[in-house]
Structures are given as C-alpha cells and as structure tokens.
Subunit: 347 residues, 2 copies
C-alpha cells in the first residue's frame, strides 16, 4: 500500500496526498478526503522512500562501549529524551570497546544515512587513524570524551582532570596524605585520572609509593566489585595502609567499602572512600559514597545541542563544550584519622 492507493481512494492526485501528509496547504475538502482514506486503509507512510528523496533518515546513531553500564546509559537516556522533540529515533550501537566493531557500526550508520552520530568514549586508534574525521565530513558527528587535545571534530569534553583535582583537594583538605588510587587495567579515562592523581601529589612534594596504585583486571563490569574488594583487602590489611582510597568508578568504590567493612574498618572514621560517576551504586549502600558527578544529563543535552547545530548547518567551525564534573560529598569521606601522622612516621 502506498500513496497511490490513497490517492485513488480519495479521488485526488498523489501530490495532494503527499501535501496532506506533510501538512502543506490543501483545500480543506481534499484534506478531509485524504485523511479519511488514510484512516480507512490504515495507511502508514514509508520513511525509507521519504528519506531517499529528502536525504535524511530522521535517525541518529549513538555509539557506546557497553550497554550494561549506568554511566553510558544515563547519557543515552538524556539523549533519547531530547531527540523526541524532533521526532528523531536512535540507533544504539555497543562496541565493547572493540575498534573493529566501532568501524563497522560507523560505516553501517553512514549507509543508513543517519542525520548525525554521537560517539561516547571513542577508541584512540580510530581517532588517530582519522576515521572519525572522515565520517564527520559526511555526517554531523559529535565526540564525547575526556581528551582535551581533540580540536578538529565537534566535541563535548569532560574535564576529568578537573574532577580529579576536586577529589584530591577535598581529600587533601581533610588531611589525607596517603591516598590510594584504584583503577581498571586499560582505558584512557583511567590514565587521565591516574595522571591527575600523581601530579596533584607531586605538586605537594609527595611521591606515592608503588603500592598506593592498585590495578584490577576488569574495571568496568559487575565483576569489578569483587575484584576491587579482593585487591583492596590486601592493601588495607597492610600496616602502611592508606587513609583514603579513590576508585575510578562506583563499582570499584563499592568493592573498597566492602573490603573495609570486612576488616572492621569504619568509614569514614578509619578510611575515606571516593567513587566516580555518581551512579545509583553511590547511594545504594548503607554508607552513601562521595563521588564525582559527570553530569550525564547536561552532557547528553550538550551533545544533542551540538548535533542540532551541525545538522541545521551553522558555521562549520568545530566546537567544543566543556563539562565540569562536580564532587558530591557524602558520608564516605571524613577527616584523616588522628593517629595517621604518627603512622606515617613510625614505619
């Protein structure tokens, strides 16, 4: 069934049908006839054909690393909501961080002639290879990431360094000097945070001992909780344990809390813990976690804003929007234990 059928049924031309469907001026009488025919035949227009003519699909693609990740999904949620206002639909593509899948999906999206693409935490390989720049020449593309060096593509950059700085200032201000850093093995965001942790300390003349850096294999799935708990168990049992721990996400932070509670350490009296991303995990337990809110909602909104700008074709100059993370202080952080200065000296 197509507009020809409707035209015949309504006794008008296909042009008139098309006009009615697109809310263009048409004599009231004809509009009624067409609308009746549409209803009678239960006609639903074919957007593929429309898109072929209009050169737009009314769809955009969102590339993420993982669907089972609160952080990405909160952003996706915000994006999807904004998209509704323009009647756009969203292709969800999850790459598991695999460069090859990222390529494939990107290509597939272009084939489908999406009106725009939002990429969350793109792989460095594909950025370096120029893939994104290439795609960006064909279709509006927004990169959401934490690498401030990317200037040639529209991007929403999350100033993780600043977020990390806030964490360290908070902890340092509470008197903490022995601050452990817990991360997953691979990932640029981990690298950025570690670097910020290290340089904050070194600016203050502190060189963290190697055991202050704890790395677990799987930092980004439900296994992270258990792995973090196990890894921190060791660390916390040691005589020279830290007085505070920063974990690169709330999953790992939850593991730290569990390890501490298993050892009878009170939080925050004996140990301060800071998480990251401020997901539901931060507020799910008995002790609510101090965490870094990456502003997922405004982040998603900013990405969509940039996308609309690109779609509507303003100036083609690539833009960057900075998202400033916010430290949310809850009950998992407190002043350094009174005897910790002694501890530091005594060993």
């Amino acid at each position: 069934m197509n507009i020809n059928d409707i035209a015949r049924e309504a006794g008008v031309s296909i042009a008139t049908v098309s006009r009615v469907l697109n809310h263009l001026p048409v004599r009231e009488e004809n509009r009624l006839k067409v609308e009746a025919a549409v209803k009678r035949l239960d006609f639903v227009p074919n957007y593929l054909a429309r898109g072929l003519m209009n050169k737009q699909s009314l769809a955009i693609g969102v590339l993420i690393t993982s669907i089972s990740n609160d952080y990405y999904m909160e952003i996706t949620d915000a994006v999807e909501r904004r998209l509704r206002e323009r009647g756009l639909m969203l292709f969800l593509c999850s790459t598991d961080g695999e460069t090859e899948l990222e390529r494939r999906y990107l290509n597939d999206l272009v084939s489908r002639r999406v009106d725009g693409i939002i990429v969350l935490d793109s792989s460095d390989e594909n950025y370096a290879s120029g893939l994104f720049r290439g795609v960006a020449q064909r279709v509006p593309l927004i990169l959401v990431h934490s690498n401030p060096d990317i200037l040639d593509v529209d991007s929403v950059v999350i100033d993780q360094r600043l977020g990390m700085r806030r964490v360290m200032e908070h902890l340092y201000g509470l008197g903490h000097r022995e601050i452990a850093f817990l991360r997953g093995r691979a990932g640029v965001p981990y690298d950025i945070k570690e670097e910020a942790w290290r340089s904050f300390l070194s600016e203050r003349g502190i060189v963290p001992s190697p055991e202050r850096l704890v790395v677990i294999e799987q930092g980004n799935a439900s296994e992270a909780i258990g792995q973090a708990e196990e890894a921190m168990g060791e660390t916390l049992r040691s005589a020279s344990r830290p007085t505070a721990v920063f974990a690169c996400n709330d999953l790992m932070a939850r593991g730290v809390v569990n390890a501490a509670s298993r050892l009878g350490l009170r939080i925050p009296e004996d140990l301060s813990v800071v998480g990251h991303d401020d997901t539901v995990l931060a507020i799910s337990g008995r002790t609510q976690l101090t965490s870094v809110d990456l502003k997922m909602k405004s982040l998603g909104g900013a990405a969509v804003d940039l996308l609309y700008r690109a779609i509507d074709g303003g100036d083609p100059e690539p833009r960057r929007v900075f998202i400033v993370p916010e430290l949310v202080v809850r009950e998992s952080t407190g002043p350094v234990p009174a005897d910790s200065a002694f501890m530091e000296v005594s060993r």
Copy 2:
C-alpha cells in the same frame, strides 16, 4: 554519489556494481575494477534505497519503559549482541511507561519499515486496545511480559508467579511465617507478585495482616532505595516486625538492608531479605542479596529467536516461550530467628 558514479568510474554497468556490492557472481576482473572505484571514491551504499526495493530496513525496534533500569538494559544488551550476527541495527525507544509515547513509537517504527519489533513490558491499555495485534499484522512483533493470558501474539513470558513461588518456598522452608511484601505503587509485575505472595500464604492458612504489605510511590528509579529505606524503617521498628522481607526489585531490597542496618538488625540473623531481578545491586553491598534472576540474557536471546523465526516466516502460529526465573540464594536469607515464634505469640 551513487552506483552510477561507481559504474562510470569502473567502466561497467550499474548492475555489475550492484552485484559486486551484494557479493553476487561477477567476473573477477570486473569485481576488482569496481572495488577499486569504490575505494577511490570512498563510496558508501545507501541502505534507504536498498531498503525501498528490498522492503526491509535491516533494523529492528526495541521498546522499553526506561533506559535507566538495569533490568531492561541487560535484556537490550543481549538483544543487541544477537542482532549483530545478521547485521541488524537496533532502534531504542523508551516510553517512560506512557501509553501515548508507546503508540507514537510503534507507529514511527512501522513508518521506518523495521524488520521486527520487541516490546518489553507493554502497557496493558495498548494491548487491550488491540494496538499490538494490529502492528503484529504488519511486522513481526514479540512481546516480552509476565501476563500468561496473552496468546494471540508471539511472546516471551516470564513466569513471575513461579519465581515468586520459589522465593516463598525458600523463605517458608527456613521457617519464616511473617513475610513482608514491598512493592511500588503501579505496575502489573507488582500485582502478579503480590498475588503470588498472598496465595502462597493463604494456601498455608496464613492471611497476612495489612501492615505486611508495604507500598512505596516510586518503585523503579534510584529514589526507590531511599523510599524503601524510609518505609521499612517504620515497619522494622514495630514490635510485630516481620522476620523476612521480599522486595519487588533490588533497589528496594537495598533500601530494606539499609533500614535494617540502621536499626542494628543483622542480616540474615535478625531479618532475611530477598530482592528481585538479580542486578548488580544484589552483589554490590557488603551483604550479598538473595534475589530472583529473570534470566535476562536467555530472555533477550529467546526474543530474538522468535523474531528471526517470524522474519524468516515459518508457520504464522503465534508462539510463546516461557522463561523460568531462578532463585539465587546468597547471604541475605537464613533461618527464622529462634525467638520469633515467641515474638509472634507474645504480642
């Protein structure tokens, strides 16, 4: 740019180009020429045009209630993975449980000529109105839900009654008789579970007193934790407090655990707690929650299997696949406290 340009560049006809693009037999020499031209001109075929001819879009739609919900996203994750094998892409549509949005999205998906639709927990209104049946006549549609009465549309039905039964058997077997039930205000899944809870008890001659049923407003977002904690605080302070609590999801269960721990109640020695959905929250805290695993992975897989069957057009008889939930027993449940029989009598 289109296949005409490629044909010209390669010195062959558009039919040959099309054949190369679709991996149909072509003389090796021509294949090479075409491939070279494609590469040289950086050509990406237009799936809208292809879809217009083939009457397929290589895309399917997934309708869910909420993106910020582990449960839905785990299913979506499983679905997306399976879709890759056929090169299908996924339109993600989140309805917030609003009937009107559900209509709109469904219609939009049909307009886009998706090859199939998976609906997770559809609204009853739209089912009753025949909307889904109507859509199912146009495009393969799979309903994922907990209503065993739906027979006229392909569906994956989650036997929540059975899951609930397993919970009750477990608790009852541990000696619990005073089992509270915690739910959100609105939702068919809540109703089904409550009904199963009630009938299990009544089969054993127990009529739960009204205060055993605790209802909170927002059962399905991060606020649920706090609301559950508050609501259960009251309940647990009462002299006639229950010995076990079942919560309709892990969010609420987490709230129960927090409330208990705030009151100094040990889990499971003083209180047993059971959650539902077995999301990451079940294993995120110090005490790992006994919970009901709804088998999201196999559920998503089953939905895709049904979809493929419908797309490939086997027999048109609507099918139903039953998913049997599994009780995952962890440390949050244990034998009823020794003095509870006394407690029951003494008040």
